[in-house]
């Protein structure tokens, strides 16, 4: 009789370590991606509208509900106040990046709708409606690549 014993414990350990490393890397990659999305939304046309700067200074980015950055350091003139969201309830175990614009009027300005039923007038050149959506459409691949690149270099 031949008895063969195969010890897979080292393999199992390696899989567990690799899984943990990939998970960490994907979170780090998502962190880079959501920060890039926030900065692109604030700086590239159509950029976030600025009157006092309060809206631009009220962006926050989260990875799996954990705060990873805000735009609170952006300039705000008198009369405006930066109010970036700094806490959000845990929503999922999956890898989710979130950009929050924490002003009650953010949605209507983003959708280009004024309270007077007319298209919103953006006074600062280079700013306009859809400052977030347009970046997801134009640079979506770049954000995915930021995540993929981080995972790729994981050893």
């Amino acid at each position: 009789m031949i008895k063969i014993t195969l010890d897979t414990s080292q393999f199992k350990r390696a899989v567990i370590v690799a899984t943990a490393k990939v998970e960490r890397a994907s979170q780090e990659g998502m962190k880079s991606a959501v920060k890039a999305l926030m900065n692109d939304s604030l700086d590239l046309p159509p950029a976030c509208p600025r009157r006092t700067g309060a809206l631009a200074a009220s962006h926050s980015v989260f990875v799996n509900s954990k705060l990873v950055g805000t735009s609170a350091d952006r300039p705000v003139s008198e009369g405006g106040e930066a109010t970036p969201l700094t806490f959000m309830p845990k929503i999922s175990q999956e890898l989710i990046g979130t950009l929050v614009v924490h002003k009650p009027y953010a949605a209507s300005i983003h959708e280009g709708v004024s309270r007077w039923g007319t298209p919103y007038t953006y006074k600062t050149p280079g700013t306009g409606r859809k400052w977030v959506q347009s970046k997801l459409l134009s640079f979506g691949e770049k954000y995915f690549n930021l995540i993929a690149a981080r995972i790729r270099v994981t050893r």
Partner: protein, 123 residues
């Protein structure tokens, strides 16, 4: 004819909406009815890997009551959402939903406004 005009004509052909009566492109005139729809092209368009143009389109629906505005928004949404090709519009390959209708604001005339967004993939 322009793409957005084609799209407006398609919506008009498949709903009770009438172009320049209660269906407008880009903005509505001051004399618009309480219930109306506005189609607007959005910034951020790009090309897909297969070379198709990806044009973002926003649909604004307005109504004097919340339900009327929502119902109108849903009518257009159901017509366009995730649709593979539109009859009569040979250049349009697919219409993908970015978001379903959601209430944005109440305007100066007391009308509820719903917004929905799509990506039209076209040649």
């Amino acid at each position: 004819m322009s793409f957005i005009q084609d799209l407006a004509d398609y919506v008009a052909s498949n709903t009770s909406l009438v172009v320049d009566t209660d269906l407008f492109i880009a903005e509505e005139p001051a004399s618009s009815p309480d219930e109306c729809v506005i189609l607007i092209t959005s910034p951020g368009s790009t090309k897909s890997e297969s070379g198709l143009d990806m044009q973002a389109v926003q649909v604004l629906s307005k109504g004097k009551s919340f339900i009327a505005a929502e119902s109108l928004a849903q009518t257009v949404f159901d017509l366009l959402a995730n649709k593979p090709g539109f009859s009569g519009l040979t250049d349009i390959f697919y219409c993908e939903v970015l978001n379903s209708p959601f209430p944005v604001e109440v305007d100066g005339r007391g009308r509820y406004i719903f917004s929905s967004n799509f990506i039209i993939k076209k040649k």
